[in-house]
Structures are given as C-alpha cells and as structure tokens.
C-alpha cells in the first residue's frame, strides 16, 4: 500500500528539537556555574516548551487530511557518489504519537527528577544528559530517513550509557553502563547492515537514499528474500535497543542508574524505539511473513521468559525491569503479528503506567533512603499514601484490569496475535498476562501491605516525597487510568480511534483468522485476574506459602532468581574467549612473536652475518692476497667459460 504523501513544511518540528538542544547547551556550559535553581527551572522547562511545540505540531497534523505529514528540512547531510540523505524532520501521525509521549512523559519525569536528584552534586550534569537524551529521542522519532533515525538511535544509546554510569565512582555502575552500550552496539551493527541491504536493493532501481517515503514508494524493488534479510537485520537492532532475546541482558543492569532515568529511558521511551522502528517500516516487514513471524515469536518468548524471572526478584526495580522487558515482548508480539497500531498503542499506555511505576518505586526508594529490597519493606501505604494509590493504579493498568489503559492495548495485541494465526503465541501471551498480574501484585503487597519489615532506624524518617515528585505521579496516574480510552474496542463510542488515526501510516490490521473479540478478551482478562488472586493468596492470606514453594522447587527457584544464568553463559562463550584470543593469540602470539619476531629476526640475521663476514678481515696481508687470488680464479674462470662457448 503506497500512500500519496503531501509534505507541509513546519518549523514547529524544528522547535521541538531546538528547546532540548538549548537545554543541553545551557546545562553544559552554565549549569554548574548558575547553580541548582537555574538548572531546575531550565531542565524541565525546555521539556515543557518542547511539549507545547509538540502539541502544536500534533494539532496541525490533525488539521491536515489523513496521510499527510509535516516536514522540516534542516540541511543536506551525506551526499557521496550517488548516495544522498539529508537531515530532515518529518512528522506523520505515528511520529506524532511518539513525540507526544516523549515530550509529555519526559517533561513530567524531568520535573520529578528535580525533586529526586535534589541532593546530588552533579545536578547540572544530570540534566545535561537528560535533555540530551530527549533531544536524541526526538531526533529518532522525527527523522525523515533511516540514517538520521540511526543518529537518534545511537544518541539515546549514548545517553543511556552516560546515565547508567551517572554515579561513575561505583565501578559496577560504570561497567553496567558500558555493557548497555556495547550490547546496543551489537544490535546496531545489525541495524547498519540492514540499512546497507536496503540501499543495495534500492540502488538496483537507481534509488540512492533512505528516505522513508521513498523507500515506501519503491518497496516493490524488494523480493521476499531481500526484504527478509533487511527486516531481520533491522530487527537485530531492535532486539538490542528494546531488550529482546537475545540482547536483553543489559536492561536489568541498567537499573543502577537514577530511577527517573529508568522511568524515562528504560521504560517509557528509548526501549520502545525498536517497536517504533518496525512500525515505521511496516510496509517493508509486511513483505516478509517469515520476518514477521520471527518478530512475533521473539516477542512472545521474551514476554514470557522475562515475566518468569520477575516473579522471584526481591529488588523492586529489578521486578519492574523484567516486567518492562516482558511488556516490550508484548509490543513485538503485536507488531510481529501485523497489529502495528496495537503495538504502538501499547507503547503509549506502557509509557504511562510503566513510567509511573518506576516513579513510584523511585519515590519509595527515596523514602526508604535508597533501600530497594522489597523484603525490607511492607505496610508502607500509610506512610506514602499518594505513592501507594498512584502505584496501585499503575499496577491495575499493567495487569490489564478492564477499564485501565493497559487493558485495551494488551487486549488488542493478544487479539491481533490470535487473529494473525499465531495461536500458540497468543496462548503464551495470555499465560504471561497471568504471570504479570501475579508478580505486579506481589510487588504491591510486599511493598505496601502486610506487616512492616523496615529497619527501625529507617522508620522514623519515612515520609512522602515533595510535590515536585508527587505531581508527576498524579498526572501519570490519571494518564494510566484513562489513557487507554483513546483506543476503545471497535463499536464502542469512538471505538478504534487510535488505530484509525495511525492507519495512514501503518495501515489497517488485516486478520487472518476470525475470532470473537469478546471471547479472547474474557479469557485473557480471566487469566490476569487469576494471577492477581494467586498473588493475594500468597502474600496476604498465607504469607508463608512462597517460602514453602520456593523451598519445594528449590532448583527452579534458584534458576529463576539467577535469571537462568544467561549473563554467566554469555560471559563464558563470548567475553572470555574474546579476551583470550586478543591477548594470548593475537597480541602475544601473532603480533609480538610472529610478525615482530620475523622482522627482528631478519635484523639479527644480518647483524650476525655481518659479524661473521667481518672476521674475514684478519689483518694478514697474505690472507688478503689469497682472497684476491680467489677473485682472480673466479674472473678468469668466467672468461675461460666465455672462450669455450
């Protein structure tokens, strides 16, 4: 499906980028000098301005006929040989949604950070990074071509690296930051190759650019094979950025960063970049059923896999991290089964509630003075009322309790999965929904209910967070409560508005299998509720039970607790061999010993030869004469030979 694209230049897009950029410069150069107040105004301020600009852009977008886009060309970028891309911004409905999420959620998280980071010495540096991140993320979503998207893609990776390693004095944190960046790079390698594949295919048709509309216009040049190759390579990038199997390992470790970072980058925005990218290139992925299946399968598996780990984690942020991975899995399941709108929809709702969850967790941790272990919490709801309520709402949303935002999006995804014929994946998704309910409420119960396990000395300074932190909580709580209503099911009021809004870009979902929407929804919801109930039983009714279970299924429990030993596994098969090869074989073996050895060997040989030859100069004239005569013999012999022939 080739949409006719009308582009209207709009400087609003430029503004969206401009504000965070200004923020970066300000915080970088003046932040430290002008002090916290200035920073705490500028940092979030620019984000709110960007939010306003984004809204303006979105409004303009609404006023345009469907299928049109706003564009703003900055300047031509790389033009070499026949290949050319320019730095240009382009906002269609898809990016419209994304910029709203990024600027909106981002703005509030920035605001939250003002309170959260209030006592950190590197206040300005923090906001520099945060703004830089927002900038990169916006570049990512507003890019009008794949290459520029890659700029944002790597930019966000960098910021996440910087922010994870924000408290760099702790070597572990630094390590985690690097780990995140490297793992992402591995994915990005795939991304680059994907881009190259696309160009090489297009170039056959004389098309030498990566402009999205242009790709879409010439998508006919792709065979199924080339399309599959390109899609899988790009998806490799997505697995890195969006923490899917096999490259998800960095995300849990990323939680060592400040909590707002986890909220903004590792929950709300950056990690959804992969989903966005696939949705953006839906026309390409549609060409390759195999690729789609792979995406869906990976998604479903990741969702389930991560959820299982989340069950047993004691660390509140770890739980949320794994739940993020699992939710991302849902999104990929959605886009993988062709329900792009559903996927993006879940991106949005997830941004709301997962962002909120992290903020709440942050608030809890803040109150507990940095304590993250849930086994040392409990019965906090009277100490932190706002936090409790907002977090509860978020939890309901993520557990897909009907009415809350999560319900609609997850429902759409599962429905899509089923109808596109991936029944097994649907089953997996449903199961995961149950587990989700379980571990989320486990979190709630362990944190806010039951009897307090807080160390006494921490008890007395337990307190609710400052308004700069609570306001965002409330706002996001509202969003997670009602945010889903933009995508009510078909037939209901303005039903399916979200999908319709996106359809010009991502097309409409074309079901393969017919099924009763209601039936599916009931099943899924039922399982979810079951999970919640189970959690209630385990952690409120009979708190001893988990221990027993854990003790019974000791090995399984251990495996889950240790995240299936995946890190150790990678360490064993990749990191260690890499260093061994580099150090022992290449550096010592080949470089020093073989190559340099050869070179120096030649030198040594010459020198020793020289020493030897030198001995011929004995100083005795007669020896000289003897050599002389030998020479004569030689010459005369040659001439004798000459005469004879």
């Amino acid at each position: 499906m080739v949409t006719t694209v009308v582009n209207l230049p709009s400087s609003a897009l430029a503004l969206i980028l401009l504000f965070p950029a200004l923020g970066v410069l300000f915080n970088l150069f003046f932040g430290a000098r002008l002090g916290r107040r200035a920073v705490s105004i500028v940092g979030p301020g620019v984000m709110f301005l960007a939010f306003a600009a984004a809204t303006w852009a979105l409004v303009r977008l609404f006023m345009l006929p469907p299928g049109d886009a706003l564009t703003f060309t900055l300047w031509p970028w790389i033009e070499a040989g026949r290949f050319h891309v320019e730095l240009a911004l382009r906002a269609d409905t898809l990016s419209g949604v994304m910029i709203m999420i990024v600027t909106g959620v981002g703005a509030f998280i920035h605001l939250y950070s003002v309170g959260y980071m209030a006592h950190d010495e590197d206040f300005a540096r923090f906001f520099t990074y945060m703004n830089l991140f927002a900038l990169s993320m916006l570049i990512l979503v507003l890019a009008s071509n794949l290459l520029m998207m890659f700029v944002g893609w790597e930019g966000v990776g960098l910021c996440s690296y910087l922010l994870i390693a924000f408290w760099y004095t702790n070597p572990q944190f630094a390590y985690n930051g690097r780990k995140a960046f490297i793992v992402n790079r591995v994915g990005d390698a795939g991304f680059i190759l994907g881009m190259l594949t696309i160009i090489s295919v297009l170039s056959r048709g004389g098309v030498w650019t990566l402009d999205f509309p242009t790709i879409q216009a010439h998508v006919a040049l792709f065979t199924t094979g080339t399309a599959t190759a390109a899609c899988l390579l790009l998806f490799m990038g997505a697995t890195g950025k969006s923490a899917q199997i096999p490259l998800y390992v960095w995300l849990p470790d990323a939680m060592v960063g400040p909590t707002p970072v986890s909220a903004l980058i590792h929950a709300a925005t950056m990690v959804t970049a992969g989903v966005y990218m696939i949705a953006r290139l839906n026309f390409l992925f549609m060409l390759s059923p195999d690729a789609m299946t792979v995406v869906a399968t990976i998604g479903a598996l990741t969702a389930f896999f991560a959820a299982t780990i989340a069950i047993v984690q004691p660390d509140i942020k770890k739980v949320l991290a794994y739940s993020t991975i699992s939710q991302l899995g849902y999104m990929f399941l959605g886009v993988g089964s062709g329900a792009f709108a559903a996927g993006i929809f879940h991106v949005m709702t997830h941004a709301f509630f997962k962002g909120l969850l992290f903020l709440c967790a942050g608030s809890v941790i803040h109150a507990m003075g940095g304590e993250q272990d849930m086994t040392k919490m409990g019965a906090l709801r009277k100490h932190l009322p706002i936090t409790f309520w907002t977090m509860l709402i978020a939890t309901l949303a993520i557990s897909a309790v009907p009415g809350f935002s999560g319900y609609f999006s997850k429902d759409l995804i599962l429905e899509g999965a089923y109808e596109s014929g991936h029944v097994w994946l649907w089953g997996l998704g449903v199961l995961t929904a149950g587990i989700t309910g379980f571990y989320m409420f486990r979190l709630i119960f362990m944190t806010f209910f039951g009897e307090s396990r807080v160390e006494p000395e921490k008890l007395h300074h337990l307190h609710e967070s400052p308004p700069s932190m609570t306001i965002p909580l409330v706002v996001l709580a509202i969003a997670s409560a009602i945010g889903g209503w933009v995508g009510l099911p078909k037939g209901l009021l303005w039903g399916d508005a979200f999908a319709r809004f996106l359809s010009p870009v991502v097309g409409n979902f074309r079901p393969g299998v017919e099924a009763s929407t209601l039936g599916l929804s009931v099943v899924a919801t039922g399982v979810g509720m079951l999970g919640i109930l189970l959690a209630y039983v385990c952690y409120i009714r009979m708190p001893g039970l988990p221990m027993i279970v854990a003790w019974r299924a000791k090995s399984l429990y251990q495996v889950l607790l240790d995240k299936y030993y995946i890190d150790e596994f990678y360490n064993l098969i990749i990191t260690r061999p890499l260093f061994f090869v580099s150090n022992v074989i290449l550096n010592r073996g080949i470089d020093r010993f073989m190559i340099d050895g050869t070179v120096n060997g030649i030198g040594a040989t010459v020198r020793s030869g020289s020493r030897l030859a030198r001995r011929s100069e004995t100083g005795n004239v007669q020896h000289y004469a003897f050599v002389y005569v030998l020479g004569v013999l030689g010459v005369v012999a040659y001439y004798l030979y000459l005469v004879r022939h």
């Binding site: 300047w75 031509p76 970028w77 790389i78 033009e79 070499a80 040989g81 026949r82 290949f83 730095l87 290459l147 890659f150 700029v151 893609w153 790597e154 930019g155 960098l158 690296y161 390693a165 760099y168 004095t169 702790n170 070597p171 630094a174 390590y175 930051g177 690097r178 960046f181 490297i182 790079r185 591995v186 990005d188 390698a189 680059i192 190759l193 190259l196 594949t197 160009i199 090489s200 170039s203 890499l578 260093f579 090869v581 580099s582 150090n583 290449l586 550096n587 080949i590 470089d591 190559i595 340099d596 070179v599």
Partner: protein, 528 residues
C-alpha cells in the same frame, strides 16, 4: 600558473624552520614557529575557499623544468583528493606546535620546531606534487624529521623505534623508486620521451606482468606506510615512543600518505591490477580492522592502544578505497580526515595526561573524572568520534565505506561492521578504566585540569568533529569530481575484465575462440 600559491604553502614552513633555528631564546622560538605554521594554514584555507568545486583536474598548478634530461619538472597542483589532506596537515601541525609549546617539550625546542616545520614541508610537498619524482623526493624527505622527532624527543626505546620506522619505510619506498623509474622507461618506449609527469604516466601501456610487478612495488611501499596488516608492527613502536606531537602528525597525516599514494598512484596507474587485487586488499583490510581492534583492546599502554586503534581505522580506509566505488572511496578519504582529527585528538589528550603523570599505563589511572572533569568531558567527545558515533565525524566516513564495500562485496562489509562494535568496546573500556571508578592512586586526586592553552588546542579539534559529523557536504563536494575522475579508468578496467571473463566463458561453452562482439555487462552500468 597561479602566483606560486602552492609553492608558498609548501616552502613557507621550511623558511620558518630556518628562521626558528636562529632564534635566541626558547619563547621566541615557539612563538615564531607557531606563527610560521599559521601562514600555510591561512593559505590552505584560502585554497579551500578558492577551490573550483566542479573541476576534477589539478588546480593552482605550477610547473617549471627541474631536470629536463629526465623530463622531471617541479610540478605542483591540488585536486579534491589532496586539498583536504593539505588542510588537515596544516591544521594539525599548528595545533601540535601550539600544544608542544605548553610544556610538553622541554629540551631543545629550537630543533624541535625546526623539524616539525620541515616535516610540514615534506608532507605538503608529498600531497601537492604531481610529478612522480618530486613526489618521491618529498616522500623521503618527510621521513627524516620524523626520525629525529622520535629519536630525540621520544621516550623509552626511542632509537629502536626510530630506526625501525626508517628501515620499514625505506624498504618500501626504495623499491617504489625502482618501480617509478621502470615505469618511466616504459613511458619512453610508448611516447618516445622521458617524463615523470603523472598525467602522462597514467596512459602508459603495460603488459600484464609488468603492471602486476609495478603495482606490487608501489603497493608495498604504500601498504607499509598505511600500515596494512601484517606490515604494521613498526607503528605501535613508533607511536608509543614518539613525543606527543610526533604521534599526532604520524597518525594524523603521515599514515594517510600511504592511503593517498594508493589513490593517487597505485590504483589509477594500474587499474586492471587494482581491480584484480580487490579481494586480497579487502581481506587484508578486514583483518586489519578486527585484528587492530582486538589487539588494541588488550594493550596496557594508552598510546599503544591508540596506535593499534589506528591500525583498525586505517583498515576501514583501505576497505573503502578498494571498494573502488564512489561512495567507498569518498568515504575512505573522509575517513582519513576523521582519523586525522580524532586520533590526533586522542594522542594530544594522552600526551596531556602523560605530561601530568609521566606514565601511560592504564592501570595507573582511574576515577580521573573527579579530578579533571573538563579533560574527561573532552576525552569523551574525542573518544566517541573515534568510535564513530553518528552525529560526529567518524560515522560519516565509516558508513560511506561500509556502503561502498557492501555494494562491492557484502561479506567483507558484514565482517567489517564488527569493527564498529569492537571499536566501541575497547574505547569505552579504556575510558571506564581511566575516568570512572574510585580514585585508586592518591596522585590522581591532585593532578590539575587542562590549562587554557590545552583547551584552546582541543576546541578546534572538537569543533571539527561536530562540523564534519553534521555538515560534511562542503568537504565531500570538493572531493567528488576528483574521485569520479580517479575511478573512471578503474571502471573501464572492470568492464574489460568482465568482458574477458564473458568471452572466456563463451569460449569454454562452445570450445571456440573467444568472440569479439562486445556486449554490455552489469559493470558498464556501474561505470557511469
């Protein structure tokens, strides 16, 4: 004839060097040296501005007879390929002089400045000469000052490094001299007169064997200079022992001379052989990329690490060049500039650290961010540019190279991409060990942050990185025509080879003599 602009660019530094030698006290020496290095800088900017974007041939050419009996002439000219390298050279020389004056070089500053400026003359001459003989002369001249820079102001096994450097390079270049003469004699056979003029030599008809051998000789000389794996082992030593400025120029400019040699001589002179040699060189380049990165990763010495990273980066340059495709070659030239800027920057930074702590052992550092935030921040930027972060200069080159390579041979590209990952790996790991973590050594708490002078040195570097990353157009536009021109014969050669192959196949198919009928092939399309 254009009023000897190029001559001025080439020889002003030499005059400056002599002038510096006459200076009485050190300050004056430093200042005059710096000022003299600014003149060619300004001139080359003027050159850049006045350069005609649309012409592919040599501009600002000057030609005077030098040794008529050999048809040798003093013939200078600049085209899109050399222009930017000239600019890079002048910039880096000025920067390293500015830096070295800040306390890095304590003893014998006069000689130091002298050699730096002579070096500049050598480099610029090499880039600007069109007459092959003249080229060779400058090519050798630039060896000597570098030898002194390493040998006198170097550290550790400086003499070993210096001698190794000279012998490696001389071996290649003298063989090249023989090849040059041979080529010229062939030209005499063909055109009835001796001439070392490049444009004439481009047309020399050669038998296959001759071409192969000559190419081999040229390629050897240049490959040593680049350096290509496995001829690289002089580089780590030279780099490590050289004084900071020396490393900067060595990595920033001198290595490019090898690549430049390929572009200007080896490939256009023997296009057919070049095309035949593509697989070999792609392979070597890829090995260089991965090998360099892996070995760099395990180096305990900062400079050595950067040196090996150069091996990796230059691998990219060669990769793009032997893609023999506009994107690839453009990318490879661009990558030369990038590498000049970013690796030059890295060496400067390492030097600044060395100046403060007198060690380059990575294990000696850690947690530096606390004590020297500005330094750390700058280091971060430079490192990212070296790691090819999009938005900074490194990425543009790498991407174009990968693109060109991918179109030529996707497997090579696929392997090369791993270099991107590994690059990030060793750089970030280094950064982590040096900047992050707690301060383990008490000394590191007290080291002072960058001085104004040093910041002044680094600002242009970073500005370049940003500019080249975000707006490469003005640079690429200037190379484009020359690249096309340089590739034209290559494409013809490709078509011819393709044709031969087709004929052979047909001949084999019907067991008859190859048919004459020329038929268009995929490559003819590629050719325009």
């Amino acid at each position: 004839m254009s009023g000897g602009l190029l001559t001025a660019i080439v020889f002003v530094p030499l005059l400056g060097g002599l002038f510096v030698l006459m200076q009485r006290e050190d300050r004056a020496a430093w200042n005059s040296a710096f000022i003299f290095s600014l003149i060619p800088l300004a001139l080359s900017f003027y050159l850049f501005a006045k350069f005609d974007l649309h012409s592919a041939d040599f501009q600002f050419a000057e030609q005077y007879d030098w040794i008529p009996r050999f048809g040798i002439s003093y013939h200078l000219g600049v085209d899109g390929i050399s222009l930017l390298l000239v600019l890079l050279t002048t910039i880096l020389i000025s920067l390293s002089l500015l830096y070295s004056g800040g306390g890095d070089i304590e003893e014998r500053p006069r000689e130091f400045c002298f050699f730096m400026l002579v070096l500049e003359t050598g480099l610029l001459g090499t880039l600007l000469s069109i007459d092959v003989f003249l080229f060779y002369v400058f090519w050798e001249i630039m060896l000597i000052p570098m030898y002194f820079l390493i040998g006198i102001w170097g550290h550790g096994r400086k003499v070993y490094a210096a001698i190794k450097f000279v012998l490696f390079t001389m071996t290649g270049s003298l063989l090249m001299l023989a090849a040059i003469i041979y080529l010229v004699l062939q030209a005499r056979h063909a055109f009835g007169r001796l001439s070392f003029d490049l444009q004439l030599l481009y047309q020399v008809p050669l038998s296959e064997t001759q071409a192969r051998w000559l190419f081999a000789a040229f390629a050897l000389a240049f490959a040593i200079k680049v350096p290509m794996w496995p001829l690289h082992t002089w580089l780590p030593d030279a780099h490590t022992e050289a004084p900071t400025a020396g490393s900067v120029i060595l990595a920033g400019v001198m290595l490019k001379m090898g690549a430049y040699g390929f572009l200007r001589f080896a490939i256009p002179l023997f296009p057919t052989v070049a095309v035949e040699a593509v697989p070999l060189f792609l392979a070597l380049a890829v090995i260089g990329i991965i090998y360099g990165a892996l070995v760099a990763m395990v180096q305990p010495d900062l400079k050595r690490l950067v040196a090996y990273s150069s091996v990796s980066h230059l691998g990219f340059v060669m990769l793009g060049m032997f893609a023999l495709d506009p994107q690839g070659v453009t990318g490879s030239i661009y990558q030369m500039l990038n590498h000049g800027v970013s690796t030059g920057g890295l060496f400067l930074l390492v030097g600044m650290l060395y100046m403060r702590r007198h060690t380059r052992e990575i294990s000696e550092f850690g947690g530096l961010w606390k004590s020297v935030p500005v330094y750390a921040a700058i280091f971060m930027v430079v490192m990212l540019s070296s790691a090819g972060l999009p938005g900074l200069n490194g990425f543009v080159g790498e991407f174009l190279i990968l693109l060109g390579t991918f179109l030529r041979n996707w497997i090579a590209a696929a392997f090369a991409v791993s270099g991107v990952v590994l690059g990030a790996l060793y750089l970030l790991w280094t950064y982590e060990r040096v900047m992050f973590g707690p301060i383990t050594k008490a000394v590191n708490e007290t080291i002072r942050d960058l001085t104004g002078r040093e910041i002044a040195v680094m600002i242009p570097v970073m500005a370049l990185m940003l500019f080249m990353g975000l707006y490469p157009k003005p640079l690429i536009d200037r190379m484009e025509p020359s690249v096309e021109k340089m590739l034209a014969p290559v494409h013809i050669a490709e078509v011819r080879l393709e044709q031969k192959r087709i004929d052979r196949d047909r001949a084999l198919a019907q067991g008859t003599a190859p048919a004459r009928a020329p038929k268009p092939s995929a490559l003819t399309v590629a050719a325009q």
